[in-house]
C-alpha cells in the first residue's frame, strides 16, 4: 500500500526548532494529504504526547532547552510508546549509543531530503506490519494502520 495512504491514519509528531524544516515538511505532508503535528521544543512536544497518543515522533537532536534524547527519556518515563526517528546534523558516538539505548528506530542525517524520510518511514511501517503478523501490537490502535 502507498506509504502516505497508510500514514493518513497515523499521528505523526515533528519536533524541530528550525521553522524552515517544520514548514517544509508540513507543506509536503499536506500535499500528500497527510497532516503532521509540529512542536518547536521538547517541552511543547511533551505536552502534546501527554494529551495524544502518537504513532511516530520525528525529533531533532539539537533543540533549545531539553535536547532530543532528553525528550525521549522523559517520554519513556511517561510510558508513551511510539516509533522514533532522530534527526541530527552532526552525529557523535555517544549520541548514537544513547539513542540506541532509548530505542530509536531510525536515524536521519541532515541535510536530508523527502526521500530519506520516506525510506525511514517505510522501514518502520514494514516492521510494524511484521510485528502485527505475529501477534497484536499494543500500540497499534489506529484503524487505518492495517
Amino acid at each position: 500500500m502507498d506509504l502516505f495512504v497508510r500514514l493518513q491514519g497515523m499521528k505523526v509528531l515533528l519536533v524541530e526548532d528550525e521553522p524552515l524544516i517544520r514548514d517544509s515538511l508540513q507543506r509536503f505532508f499536506a500535499n500528500e494529504k497527510c497532516t503532521i503535528m509540529a512542536a518547536e521544543t521538547g517541552e511543547d512536544a511533551l505536552e502534546i504526547i501527554k494529551g495524544n497518543t502518537c504513532d511516530i515522533v520525528i525529533i531533532d537532536y539539537r533543540l533549545p532547552g531539553m535536547d532530543g534524547l532528553e525528550f525521549l527519556k522523559r517520554a519513556q518515563r511517561l510510558n508513551a510508546r511510539f516509533k522514533k526517528i532522530l534527526l541530527t546534523a552532526y552525529m557523535t558516538e555517544p549520541v548514537i549509543a544513547e539513542a540506541f539505548r532509548l530505542g530509536v528506530n531510525e536515524f536521519i542525517e541532515k541535510p536530508f531530503s523527502v526521500e530519506d524520510l520516506e525510506e525511514a518511514l517505510v522501514r518502520i511501517l514494514e516492521k510494524k506490519i511484521r510485528a502485527n503478523g505475529r501477534g497484536p501490537v499494543k500500540t497499534v490502535q489506529s484503524p487505518g494502520g492495517t
Binding site: L20, R27, F28, N31, Y90, P111, V114
Partner: protein, 608 residues
C-alpha cells in the same frame, strides 16, 4: 735606623772624625799661610816681630780657609745628590713605562733589574718575588748570568743566601762586603771590590720579596748611597703593588669581557651617536654595518616600528628615561646591501656611564622564533576552535538545506501531479529565505575568521554608545524595556574604531533585550565611566543572568543557548575589544541579571 755592622761602628765613626779634623786643620793652616803671603805681597814687608796685626791676619786667613773647604765639600755633595736623584727619577720612569706596556711578569721583573744596572751605577741586580709562606714565586737578574742559576735553584729549595735570609728575617737593608760574604754568595770570591746590598720590597705593610744590587766597595760607607737604594727598593715595592692591581684588574676585565662576548643577548654601546662596541651576538643579529653607520638613522628597522623605535631611543639618549623596553622588527643588512629575512628582537636601551661618558647600552634578544611559534599557535588555535564549532556550523547550514530539499521534493510532486499549484509561490519564497539563511551563516563565519583591521581614531566613547542606543531605542520601547542611561561627561578620549565599538554595544543591547523577553521586570542600564585609567562601558539587564560556570563559555565562538543564535555575536564582540587592547567580561548585574563590561585603555599601546 741602620743597624748594619754594629760591632765595627765606633771604630768607623772615630776614623771619619779624625779625617774631618785633619782636613779642617790643614785648611786652617793653608788659609793662614795664604793670607799672610797675600798681605806680604801687598805691603812689601813682613813684620819681624809678632804684633797683634799679624796674628789677626793669620787667624782670619785660617778661618777663611776652613770656610772655603766647607763650601767646596757642600757643592760636591749637592752635585752627587742631584745625580742620584736624577738616577732614581730616570729608573722609576723607565720602570713605570715598562709597567704600562703590559708585558708578562717575568719580562717586567727582568726589565727592572736591567734598568737598575743601565741607569744606576750598579754592577748587577737580582729580584725575587716571595709569597707569605716564604716560598719563591719567581725571580729575575741582570749582570750576574750563570752565577745566578745556582742561587735560583737554591732559593727554589728554600735555601736563601745569607744576606737574603737576614732581609727575610726583618732587616730592611743588609750590606755585605768581601769580609761578611757567605758561602753561597753570588759575587765571585775574587771580586773584593764589590759589596752587595739587599732590601725588602714592601708597600703599605705588604711584603713582596727582595731586591739586591752590587756596587763599588768604595761607596760602602756612603750613607747617601744606602738611602738611595732604600728609596729604589720602596719604589720597586710600589711597582709590584701596581703590577698586582693591574693583574687583578685584567682578570676582572677578562671575566666581564668573556661574559659579554659569550652573552646570549646582542650587546651594543653607543656614544655620541656612534657605535663603539658590538658583541658577537649583536654582529650575528644585525649583520655587518656600513662605514659611518649612524644609530639614529635606524637603517633596516621595519617601517611600522620606526616611530616607536625613534621615540624610545630619543627618550633614552636625551636622558628622559633611564631604561626603555620594546620589541621591533628589522631587516638585517648584508655586505652586498641585500636584505635578509625579517627578524624580531626584544630590546632594552639603558643610559649608563662608560669610560666616564654618557652611553646608551642596548641589549637585544632574537625573538623571531618565538613570534613564529606564536603565529603557529594562533593559527592552530583558530583551526581547533573551528573544529570545536564544526557541529554548530553543520547545524546552522544543514537545517535550511534540509528545508530547501523538502521544498524542492514538494515542488516536484506538485509539478508531476499538477495539483496545489497555488502554493508554489509561497514555497519558492521559503526556499529563498532558506538559502538566505545559509548565506548569512557563511558570511558570519567569514567575518569571524577575518574581522577587518580596526580603523583607530581618538574618540569619545559616549558617541558610539549613543549611536547604538538610538538604533535600538525603538525596539526597546516596543518591548516595553525600561532604559537607564548614565554616561559620564568629560571622559578621556580613547583610540578606537567608533563603528566597531558601536557594533559591540548594539550586540550587547540586542542580547540584553532578548534575555528580557520572558522577564516580568524589563530593565536595561547603559553606563560609561572612568575607572582606574580605563574607560568602562557597562551594559546590564534584569534578565535571568548567566550561570557562573558558563561565563567563560559564552565567549567561545558558536556557543549559544538560543534557538536562533549562531554563537558568533559575543565571540566577535570579544575579538573586537581584544583588537582594541581592551577586555570584555561578564558579571552579575545589580538586578541579578547579566552585566557586560567593556574596558578600554585611555592611552592604549596600539602597536599593530
Amino acid at each position: 735606623m741602620m743597624p748594619m755592622d754594629t760591632e765595627k761602628a765606633p771604630q768607623k765613626v772615630f776614623s771619619r772624625r779624625m779625617r774631618k779634623s785633619l782636613l779642617n786643620i790643614l785648611a786652617f793652616l793653608g788659609g793662614a799661610v795664604l793670607l799672610s803671603l797675600v798681605t806680604l805681597l801687598y805691603t812689601g814687608r813682613l813684620n819681624a816681630d809678632f804684633p797683634v796685626e799679624t796674628s789677626l791676619v793669620l787667624l782670619s786667613g785660617g778661618l777663611g780657609g776652613v770656610f772655603a773647604l766647607r763650601w767646596f765639600l757642600q757643592i760636591r755633595k749637592s752635585r752627587e745628590r742631584e745625580a742620584n736623584l736624577l738616577m732614581v727619577v730616570r729608573s722609576m720612569r723607565r720602570i713605570h713605562l715598562r709597567l704600562t706596556e703590559r708585558k708578562s711578569r717575568d719580562e717586567l721583573l727582568h726589565g727592572i733589574c736591567r734598568i737598575l744596572v743601565e741607569e744606576g751605577h750598579y754592577f748587577s741586580a737580582w729580584l725575587a718575588l716571595i709569597d707569605r709562606e716564604g716560598d719563591l714565586i719567581r725571580c729575575a737578574e741582570y749582570g750576574l748570568g750563570e752565577q745566578f742559576s745556582r742561587v735560583r735553584q737554591g732559593m727554589e729549595q728554600l735555601t736563601f743566601p745569607e744576606c737574603a735570609k737576614k732581609a727575610l728575617s726583618g732587616e730592611r737593608l743588609v750590606v755585605s762586603d768581601s769580609a761578611s760574604r757567605c758561602a753561597g754568595c753570588l759575587l765571585p770570591e775574587s771580586d773584593a771590590a764589590r759589596v752587595c746590598c739587599t732590601a725588602r720590597l714592601i708597600h703599605r705593610d705588604q711584603f713582596y720579596g727582595l731586591l739586591s744590587v752590587s756596587f763599588s766597595a768604595a761607596r760602602k760607607h756612603n750613607l747617601e748611597e744606602r738611602m738611595l737604594f732604600a728609596e729604589i727598593a720602596r719604589d720597586v715595592g710600589q711597582t709590584l703593588h701596581l703590577l698586582e692591581l693591574e693583574e687583578q684588574r685584567a682578570v676582572t676585565e677578562n671575566r666581564f669581557r668573556a661574559l659579554v662576548e659569550n652573552s646570549l643577548a646582542g650587546i651594543l654601546l653607543i656614544q655620541d651617536n656612534a657605535i663603539i662596541y658590538r658583541n658577537p651576538e649583536q654582529k650575528r643579529l644585525f649583520g655587518p654595518l656600513p662605514a659611518g653607520f649612524r644609530p639614529n638613522a635606524f637603517t633596516g628597522v621595519h617601517p611600522d616600528d620606526l616611530e616607536k623605535v625613534e621615540v624610545a631611543y630619543g627618550r633614552v639618549s636625551r636622558g628622559e628615561a633611564v631604561s626603555v623596553d620594546l620589541d621591533f622588527r628589522f631587516y638585517p643588512q648584508r655586505k652586498g646591501g641585500e636584505t635578509q629575512a625579517m627578524k624580531w628582537v626584544f630590546c632594552r636601551a639603558s643610559r649608563i656611564e662608560y669610560n666616564g661618558r654618557e652611553t646608551v647600552l642596548v641589549s637585544m634578544v632574537d625573538i623571531t622564533r618565538n613570534r613564529e611559534l606564536e603565529q603557529i599557535v594562533r593559527v592552530q588555535d583558530k583551526m581547533s576552535s573551528l573544529g570545536r564549532v564544526a557541529a554548530g556550523i553543520a547545524h546552522e547550514i544543514r537545517n535550511p538545506l534540509s528545508g530547501i530539499n523538502i521544498y524542492l521534493d514538494t515542488l516536484v510532486k506538485m509539478y508531476e501531479r499538477g495539483t496545489n499549484l497555488e502554493t508554489v509561490g509561497e514555497i519558492l519564497a521559503q526556499i529563498k529565505v532558506a538559502s538566505g539563511k545559509i548565506e548569512s551563516v557563511i558570511r558570519r563565519v567569514m567575518d569571524f575568521s577575518k574581522p577587518g583591521q580596526p580603523r583607530l581614531a581618538m574618540v569619545d566613547v559616549n558617541l558610539p554608545v549613543e549611536n547604538a542606543l538610538s538604533l535600538c531605542a525603538a525596539a526597546l520601547r516596543r518591548d516595553r524595556v525600561e532604559l537607564e542611561k548614565e554616561l559620564a561627561c568629560d571622559l578621556p578620549r580613547c583610540r578606537v574604531d567608533a563603528g566597531l565599538i558601536e557594533q559591540v554595544v548594539l550586540n550587547l543591547l540586542t542580547n540584553a533585550a532578548e534575555a528580557l523577553r520572558q522577564a516580568e521586570n524589563k530593565k536595561i542600564s547603559v553606563r560609561t565611566a572612568l575607572e582606574k585609567k580605563t574607560v568602562v562601558i557597562r551594559v546590564a539587564d534584569s534578565g535571568a543572568g548567566i550561570q557562573e560556570g558558563l561565563r567563560d563559555k559564552i565567549f567561545d565562538p558558536f556557543y549559544t543557548t538560543k534557538s536562533d543564535g549562531t554563537g558568533i555575536g559575543l565571540s566577535l564582540c570579544q575579538r573586537i575589544i581584544t583588537d582594541h587592547h581592551g577586555t570584555l567580561t561578564v558579571e552579575e548585574s545589580a538586578w541579578g541579571g547579566a552585566e557586560f563590561v567593556i574596558a578600554l585603555a585611555t592611552e592604549p599601546e596600539q602597536e599593530e
